[in-house]
């Protein structure tokens, strides 16, 4: 879990973002950095992702691997880590999107390798509930 938090912290620092949250498909937080109302944010990330995927599937566009929302004050980005894990990033308006995407991709790869290596993670998430 520490490794995941380190990756999220680096992502937030390098992209000057507000918060990053790693959640599972049930809306439970696996790791997070700077997220206020963490439980609520986790559920919203998983919900948005589910709705996007359902919408995409219904349009025969396949699954989704990235979700991008432009808000009045910045961006919300969701990216699939694997089938059951989603990385959410809340970024500021003045962020450099290209750079942010690059860091996001790199973070997903790092997280993915940790999740693949850590077979106990699922148990850890459940023990937090």
């Amino acid at each position: 879990m520490r490794g995941l938090e380190r990756i999220l912290r680096n992502l937030v620092d390098n992209t000057n973002s507000e918060a990053a949250v790693l959640v599972n498909s049930e809306g439970l937080t696996i790791a997070s950095v700077h997220a206020e109302n963490e439980d609520r944010v986790a559920v919203m990330i998983a919900s948005l992702h589910s709705m996007g995927e359902k919408f995409s599937n219904d349009l025969s566009k396949g699954g989704i691997n990235q979700f991008y929302i432009k808000t009045d004050t910045g961006y919300i980005l969701l990216k699939d880590v694997n089938k059951n894990t989603i990385l959410g990033l809340i970024a500021k308006e003045d962020t450099k999107l290209g750079l942010l995407m690059m860091y996001l991709d790199a973070s997903v790869k790092e997280i993915s390798s940790i999740l693949n290596d850590d077979s106990t993670l699922d148990l850890n998430v459940r023990s937090i509930i």
């Binding site: 498909s25 049930e26 809306g27 439980d39 609520r40 998983a46 919900s47």
Partner: protein, 193 residues
């Protein structure tokens, strides 16, 4: 699927609240008596529903006659006393129809209460005391089981519809609801005992 959900809902009701063989015999024995109340019950039922703006709004113009026939059929089938899984699944199906027609559980519960009130009152007035009490017990068990099925089916299928349309799995929905409910509990702390 309806059978499975019906079984699940019924399994969550304590045995003391469910119809036993004796209750079913009481209902069968009083079949003619309950059926003699059908016209009064049906008229009272729809007079009440059409006397309230919210419940009246559920119906389309000219629909009352059709609904009255449906309620009459429900009574006939009910007092036959064949309370098998198909019968109870039919009540579960009513819960789905109620979602479709926006017949909310508060409306449904008070109307079942109204029917129960009329049947018990008439039983007390017209049947020997012991038989009236036996019918009261049997009818209340029947009515409460029906209420449980319709209300719980309403909830289950409402959530299922939300889950299907949004793609949110059941655990995610439950977590989303939990987060929201925790928030509502915090906002309404003063009502906690």
């Amino acid at each position: 699927m309806l059978h499975q959900i019906t079984k699940q809902i019924l399994s969550e009701l304590p045995d003391q609240t469910k119809l036993n063989n004796e209750d079913i015999q009481v209902l069968k024995r009083n079949k003619e008596f309950v059926f003699s109340l059908a016209n009064v019950l049906v008229k009272d039922f729809y007079d009440a529903l059409f006397g309230n703006d919210a419940t009246k709004a559920i119906f389309k113009p000219g629909e009352r006659e059709i609904r009255e026939k449906s309620l009459g059929m429900w009574m006939v089938k009910t007092i036959e006393g064949k309370f098998d899984l198909d019968y109870w699944s039919w009540q579960t199906f009513v819960g789905i129809l109620h979602v479709k027609r926006r017949v909310t559980n508060n409306m449904m519960i008070v109307m079942m209460g109204r029917v129960t009130d009329i049947i018990i009152t008439q039983a007390v007035l017209k049947l020997p005391t012991e038989e009236a009490l036996a019918l009261k017990t049997a009818w209340i068990k029947f009515a409460n089981t029906t209420l449980s099925l319709i209300a719980e089916a309403y909830h289950i299928f409402y959530m299922k519809a939300v889950s299907n349309v949004t793609g949110m799995n059941q655990n995610l929905l439950n977590n989303a609801v939990k987060v929201e409910i925790d928030n509502l509990v915090d906002q309404n702390k003063k009502f906690r005992i």
